[in-house]
Symmetry: C2
Subunit: 192 residues, 2 copies
């Protein structure tokens, strides 16, 4: 998505430790019109896939999931994060390691919001090491639903999450893939 690459070039900040700061439009501050455009692009990419619902994880996945759901006229669901081990109630849950915070959390979805047999599109703002999307895939598996694919705004192509996920056979669409960000210079992978 050219508009996203341009926005990252213009507003993104490549910080030491391979941190890409896009808080001015994607998370913390959200450019709402642009976010809805991202949602329409995700809807276009998965048109004809029979998506029944969007699944993401709080907090920064919520905006992009709503934008995609509004464009597809489908509901979205967000997994909650808990620090504690077992969460009470009728839930699907799995343990996910957060590389950002250096700890584990429980990713939890109420069973009633993920019906058996449904076709689910996974959505998130970032794909780096892939832990969050792998957690969502595990939740979908527990539910007996079917993951038709994943869509993220920004993939860090120099981390291994994207390659590992695609290796499982699932379709992964990243609207922008950052190939490298050495010395503050952001380069994108060419996509069709």
């Amino acid at each position: 998505m050219k508009a996203l690459e341009e926005k990252i070039r213009r507003e993104g900040q490549a910080l030491p430790g391979n941190i890409l700061r896009v808080g001015s439009f994607l998370n913390q501050q959200i450019d709402c019109d642009f976010m809805m455009e991202i949602g329409r692009e995700i809807a276009r990419l998965y048109e004809g896939y029979g998506v029944d619902r969007i699944l993401t994880v709080e907090a920064s996945g919520i905006a992009i999931a709503l934008a995609a759901g509004a464009a597809m006229h489908k509901p979205c669901v967000f997994a909650k994060k808990y620090r504690t081990g077992n969460v009470a109630g009728e839930t699907y849950q799995t343990t996910v390691h957060s590389f950002t915070h250096g700890n584990d959390y429980q990713m939890v979805v109420a069973k009633e919001y993920l019906p058996v047999g449904e076709r689910v599109l996974l959505v998130d703002d970032f794909l780096a090491n892939g832990a969050a999307l792998e957690g969502l895939l595990e939740i979908v598996r527990q539910a007996g639903a079917q993951a038709v694919g994943a869509a993220v705004a920004i993939e860090k192509g120099f981390q291994d999450g994207g390659a590992r996920l695609r290796g499982t056979g699932i379709r992964v669409e990243s609207l922008a893939i950052v190939e490298s960000m050495d010395e503050g210079r952001i380069l994108f992978r060419a996509q069709d």
Copy 2:
């Protein structure tokens, strides 16, 4: 907003302890088309107020803030919640008590995303004791910005947050006000 009252009647669950469960369309699972309709209603209520940006707090405020921002073609910003005391960096922050979780958290917004002098609309999914909106008001005050009003989807009219906030002179719009929910029967306050 009649459509919201009907949705609450149809899908909401009044649980013991005055808990109103609306996870099937407002939080956790989101009816995306309906959420965008809520956003348009908020835009209608604050038309002509010269709103520059929407401010909310993660996680469940994000969806309604994006919906309102998309309808108003304005950016939204969400405050982050931290358990720890002082958060590093150039931020505005205040301590908020969570009645839901029975603890305090730090509500934090990066200074760059809340410019001095801007006209800010506060948005959240729920208004009960008012602690979250009061925290957002304090952040706006620190920023030297101006809160033009607040908009929430559901107000619990039997808790004191709404009255206390309105008592400060700020305009508060609640799309549905639950007056009582005794024995599982949900009654709404009549509004113009």
